[in-house]
């Protein structure tokens, strides 16, 4: 590639493509969906091209799982096999929480690099970049959840229920992650730097995931902590997932988990959208 050849190509007119139609506008409803889908495609291609982002959200829970199963498992549950049966459903919830925090970091990066400015200078619906990003992340949540399940099976996790229950479990964690991603989206709109979103996101995730019954049954905890652990949405979701993957009560914890998810969504989704409109 020489400078001479570039100069030669540079004098070709930009507008030479015959038949490039002028952009079509005004079809608000369907075009918003179409643009959202295009932007979701971008998010998915991005995940495929940078698998390290997926590894990031999966690796941490994997390390926690290995640590807890092999280091503390024997002490907590008597032996590592029965501890894995106890812990894996909760770690699945933890995985999608980490993945949903990634939504906030990704949006913050897009705001930070100026790529949102480019989207906003295009004749597309204002919400398309936000909804496209979240749409793509739903796929990412599912992928990271499946990876975690496969990893659990490799370690020796055995399903105590049928395939339908497993699919329902994945559906439930995705509902929970979808509700929670609005918290991180709102955070991304008020915090200026992707690193700060990650740091503050961690402060939100820690009490949610460790102040829960994901790793240790609530009964062993002091009363003040148990008060939080027993109402923590992560505990409720983890309980429902245990029922769906291992066996045991499902309806009770599932309903409470869904109420939590609906509550989080009802508070944070409008807040995030308002902040998004203000920011963009």
């Amino acid at each position: 590639m020489t400078t001479a050849s570039r100069t030669e190509t540079a004098i070709r007119p930009v507008t030479s493509t015959p038949g490039v139609p002028a952009p079509v506008h005004g079809r608000r409803g369907p075009s918003a969906l179409r643009h959202g889908a295009t932007l979701a495609w971008r998010g998915i291609v991005k995940t495929i091209h940078s698998p390290e982002a997926l590894v990031d959200v999966t690796l941490q829970p994997v390390i926690f799982l290995l640590l807890f199963v092999y280091v503390f498992g024997g002490a907590i549950a008597g032996d590592t096999t029965s501890y894995l049966q106890f812990a894996l459903p909760g770690v699945l919830v933890q995985t999608v929480i980490f993945a949903s925090a990634g939504t906030g970091v990704g949006l913050s990066e897009d705001l930070h690099t100026g790529i949102f400015d480019r989207f906003r200078s295009l004749p597309i619906s204002r919400g398309a970049p936000l909804f496209g990003a979240i749409g793509a992340d739903l796929v990412r949540y599912l992928t990271s959840g499946v990876i975690m399940l496969v990893f659990g099976v490799i370690l020796g996790f055995r399903f105590g229920t049928g395939p339908l229950a497993v699919v329902t479990a994945l559906g439930l964690v995705m509902v929970f992650a979808f509700a929670l991603c609005w918290v991180f989206t709102a955070l991304a709109m008020v915090v200026n730097h992707p690193r700060s979103v990650q740091g503050l996101g961690f402060l939100i995730m820690m009490p949610l995931t460790f102040g829960s019954n994901v790793f240790v049954p609530a009964e062993t905890m002091p009363a003040w902590l148990r008060g939080w652990v027993e109402i923590n949405p992560v505990s409720k979701t983890a309980d429902a997932i245990r029922g769906l993957l291992v066996g045991g009560p499902v309806a009770g914890p599932a309903v409470q988990a869904l109420i939590w998810a609906a509550g989080i969504f009802a508070v944070f989704a409008p807040m995030a959208v308002t902040l998004y409109r203000r920011r963009t």
Partner: protein, 322 residues
Amino acid sequence: MNSVIDVEGLVKTFGSTTALAGVDLTARRGAVLGLLGPNGSGKTTTVRVLATLLRPDGGRAHVLGHDVVAEPAAVRSRIGLTGQYAAVDEALSGTDNLMLIARLLDLPRRTARRRSAELIEQFGLTEAASRRVRTYSGGMRRRLDLAASLIGRPEVLFLDEPTTGLDPRHRNEVWEQVRTLAGEGVTVLLTTQYLEEADQLADDLVVLDRGRVIAAGTPATLKTEIGGQRLHVRPLHRADLAAVTALVAELTPDAPIVDATGGLTAPAVEPGLLHRVGARLDEAGLTVAELGLRLPSLDDVFLTLTGHSAEDAEATTEEAAA
């Protein structure tokens, strides 16, 4: 209607900071309008308002006859924007970045592919087209960014400091592209803090300082009106500098200014000065490497207009921000 961009009394404040304090400007069809000023003078804010990214607090702005506040969609479909930082997705390939924008502009898939390929070729990115942008050099990113803003064949192109941080070779490439576009009839609004860049590219100039227009006109007009001609002499031997300075001082009203390269400049007011200086140098037996009349640089213009240099203004803005 000849003016493509029409701005009247534009005001924008951020909290207690006034970014734009009543800016007026117009851009002619097919011309390159240079928006010149130091950091914090309001260049980027002006571009963001015109590209419908920011609502002004006062004044009016029309792009291609459409009000940027009332009809943002109509404006967006006909403009291209290349911001200060290359707004391309690092995780996608060059082609995918262009395809993304093309699809968002509702080009049918096949047309989108053809248009992307065409721009990739035009911007000399063919070999890197399928590589992730993460592996691109700064110059390649800027070129891709510029290509992305051209997908929809915009009639007006906003370039916010398009060459900041580029080395001279890549800067020249961007300049070449801007000239090509202007030649095709695209109206370009270009912000820069490089006086040389404005001089090279702009047909018309608007000089901004602290949110106000302090001068407007063609680069040549600005130079002649404000600065006037200058005499420039550089002796061949540095040892002769003092003698040459003394000689020139006798013939010019203001004392000559000695610059870092061992030359000196003085305002050339009377006609025939060049001849007389040449004759006197000959008489004195002083040899010079350079002797001539020059238009002042845009740096000189800025100094004359604001009473401070571009760098000073920048420092003041940063202090104010700190």
